[in-house]
Symmetry: C2
Subunit: 339 residues, 2 copies
DNA sequence: TTGTAAGCGTTATCAG
DNA sequence: CTGATAACGCTTACAA
C-alpha cells in the first residue's frame, strides 16, 4: 500500500523510495542531480515526494557528505543599524546561492565572539564572516584548526585571519579631516567611540591624527573626545567641545549617531551650522542628508561589503578561488550644507 | 602514543576517547551531563579534549538525538531597523539558553517566506519565529506537518498558526487617533505604507477608521494616503496632504520613517509644528524624541517582543508549556511637542 | 541508469 | 559509573 504511512513524524527518503518503487539512492539523485536519473523515474519520485510530504533532512545530508550550506556571521550588535545593511547584503547573496545564514551577536566582546565562533564551528558551518578584527587567541586557533574560510569586514586590517572585505577606516577619517581643512577650517575637533573598544575607532583616530600632521595643524588634545554611543552622547560632546577651551570651528564625528545628536542639539539651541561650528559625520548617508542643514558625511559601502563578503566566501567554498584576498571598497565624501 | 594524531581534519569524539582511555559514550556523558561521570574520568576527558582540540560535531549529535538548538527567524527585511530590535531581543534570550539563530529575509513576499521556511525545516530547526502573519498554504501545511512550534509576532493576529507575541496594531493606531482628537484636532490625516503589502498596515488603517467612527468624525478619503517607505516619501506625503484640499490640522504617520521625513520637511520649510500642522508617528521612540520639535509617537515593545517570542518558544521546546498562547504586549503613547 | 553496502560522528538503549 | 551495539537519514563508492 503505497500511501499507507502510519509512521509518526516526518517522512524520510526511504518512504519516498518505497512509494516511487526505487532505491533511496535514486531518490537522492533525483533530488540532487536530476540529470542522472531517467525522466520517467524522476517524475515518479517527484510524485512520491509530494504524496508523502517529504522534506529532506539536511542534517543527515551534511553529516554524510561533510558539506554544509550554512554561513556563520558574528556582528558586534544586531540592533545597530549600520550592521543591518551589511547583513542584508550578505543575506541577499546567500539566498541567491541557496545558502543559509546564522547570526550571533558579540556585544562588542571578544570572549562572546569566541563563544559564537565555537558554536558555529560545532554546527560545522561552511564559512564564517566576522565583523571584528580582533579575536581571542583561542578563537584564532579554533578557526585555524577547523580550516573554515573566514572573511573579516570591520576594517581593512593589515593582518587578516584569511580574507578581508572592507574599506579603510584610517583613510576615510584622514580624507574627511583633509576635506575640512581644504574648506578652510583651522581647528578641527574629532569625536569617536572609545578606541579601547575596537580597532575601527583606533583606525579612525589614527587617520585624523595623520591628516593633522600632513596639514601641519598640530594635535590639540582639547579637540579630541571619546564618547559612548547614542544621540544624547553626541549632544554632550558638542557642548563639551564648545565650552572646553579648544575653540573648534568644525567637529568631525566618527560615528553617525553622535553626529546626528550634535546636529539636532544645534537645531534645538538655534546655533547656526556651520556659522557657529561646522559638523561632519561618518556614515549614515541617508538620514543625515535630510537634517537641517544636511550634514556632510562619508558614504560607506555597507551593503556592498556584505555582498562582496558573501561572494568571496562562496567563491572559496565552491573552489573557485584559493587566495587570501583583501578587497578594498571605496568610500566617498558627500559634501553638504553643514560644512 | 596519546598525542599521535596524524589524521587530517578535525578531531572526533573517538580521538578524545582514545586519549582519555575511555569509551566514546563516556566522553559524550562527560560533555553533556558531567554529573553522570566520576570526577576522575571527567578530568581525564577534559584534558583529552584540550589536547586534541576537540570541537563537538553537533550535526552528528542532532541527527542522532533528533534534537537541535537552532531557531529559524523570518523577517520581511533585515535592513529595516525596526526588526533589528526584535532580532536583538531574540538573540539575547537564545544566547542565554545556548541556542543558535538562523535568519532569513522574505523581502515582504509570502513566496520567499515559504522558501525560507522550507530551508529551515530542512535544517530541522527546533522552532520558528515568523514576523509576518500571512503565509502561503504550502508554508502552513509544511509547518503543520513538521510539528515545529511557531511564534508569529508582526501583529496580534486573531488566527495564529500556533503562538503569537505582539501588540495590537489596530488598537495602537486607534489610540493615537483618539489621542489627537482629545488634543482638539478636528481633521486628522493618516498616512501608512501600502495596505496590500501586509496585515500590519491594514490593521493600522482599520484602527484609524474605527477611532474616527467612535469620535463621530466621518471619514474623508482626502485625508488618507498610502505611501512607499522612505524619508523622501514622508516629505511628499506631507506636501500632498497640505495641498490636497483636505485641510488637515494633524497628520498621523503610521510609519516612523515617514514621520521623520515629514518632520524634517517642515523644518526645511520653516513650517511651525504644530502651528501649521501637528505630526504624530508610530514607533522609533528614540530618534523622534530628538527632532525639533520632538515628535509625539507610539512606543512599541520591539525588544520585548523579541525576548518574549524566544522565551515562549523555548518554553514549548523544552516542554515547560504546551498551550497555543497569545501574548499581548503593551504600547504607550508618548506625548511630545509636535502635537 | 540503478542498486548495494558502508560509512558520516554522535546519542539511545541496555547490559554489566 | 562505564561500555558495547545499534540506530539517526543521508551520501559516497563501487558494482551491476
Amino acid at each position: 500500500m503505497a500511501l499507507d504511512d502510519t509512521r509518526r513524524g516526518a517522512a524520510r527518503m526511504r518512504d519516498v523510495a518505497r512509494v516511487a518503487q526505487v532505491s533511496t539512492m535514486t531518490v537522492s539523485r533525483a533530488l540532487m542531480d536530476p540529470g542522472k536519473v531517467s525522466p520517467e523515474v524522476r517524475a515518479r519520485v517527484a510524485e512520491a515526494v509530494a504524496a508523502v510530504g517529504y522534506v529532506p533532512n539536511k542534517v543527515a545530508g551534511s553529516l554524510s557528505s561533510s558539506r554544509s550550506k550554512v554561513i556563520g556571521l558574528v556582528v558586534p550588535s544586531i540592533e545597530n543599524s549600520l550592521f543591518a545593511s551589511t547583513i542584508q547584503g550578505i543575506s541577499d547573496v546567500l539566498r541567491r546561492h541557496d545558502h543559509q545564514l546564522m547570526i550571533a551577536d558579540s556585544g562588542y566582546s571578544a570572549e562572546a565572539e569566541e563563544a559564537a565562533i565555537r558554536a558555529f564551528l560545532e554546527q560545522r558551518v561552511a564559512g564564517l564572516i566576522l565583523h571584528d578584527t580582533t579575536h581571542t587567541p583561542d578563537a584564532v586557533s579554533m578557526i585555524r584548526r577547523s580550516g573554515v574560510p573566514v572573511v573579516e569586514n570591520g576594517t581593512l586590517t593589515p593582518e587578516p585571519l584569511d580574507m578581508v572585505v572592507s574599506y579603510s577606516n584610517h583613510d576615510a577619517s584622514r580624507a574627511m579631516t583633509q576635506h575640512l581643512a581644504r574648506l578652510g577650517y583651522q581647528r578641527i575637533a574629532f569625536v569617536s567611540l572609545p578606541a579601547s573598544a575596537n580597532q575601527r575607532s583606533r583606525d579612525r583616530q589614527r587617520g585624523y591624527k595623520a591628516a593633522l600632521e600632513e596639514l601641519g595643524h598640530g594635535f590639540d588634545p582639547r579637540l579630541m573626545l571619546e564618547m559612548p554611543p547614542g544621540l544624547a552622547s553626541g549632544a554632550e560632546a558638542l557642548l563639551r567641545l564648545m565650552e572646553g577651551g579648544g575653540h573648534p570651528d568644525a567637529i568631525f564625528f566618527a560615528g553617525d549617531v553622535l553626529a546626528m545628536g550634535a546636529s539636532l542639539e544645534c537645531a534645538r539651541r538655534g546655533w547656526p551650522v556651520p556659522g557657529k561650528v561646522a559638523i561632519a559625520a561618518f556614515d549614515n548617508f541617508d538620514l543625515l542628508g535630510h537634517l537641517v542643514p544636511p550634514v556632510t558625511t562619508l558614504k560607506l559601502p555597507r551593503l556592498e561589503i556584505g555582498r562582496r563578503s558573501a561572494e568571496v566566501l562562496l567563491d572559496r567554498i565552491q573552489g573557485r578561488s584559493s587566495a587570501a584576498i583583501s578587497v578594498d571598497l571605496r568610500f566617498e565624501i558627500i559634501h553638504r550644507g553643514s560644512t
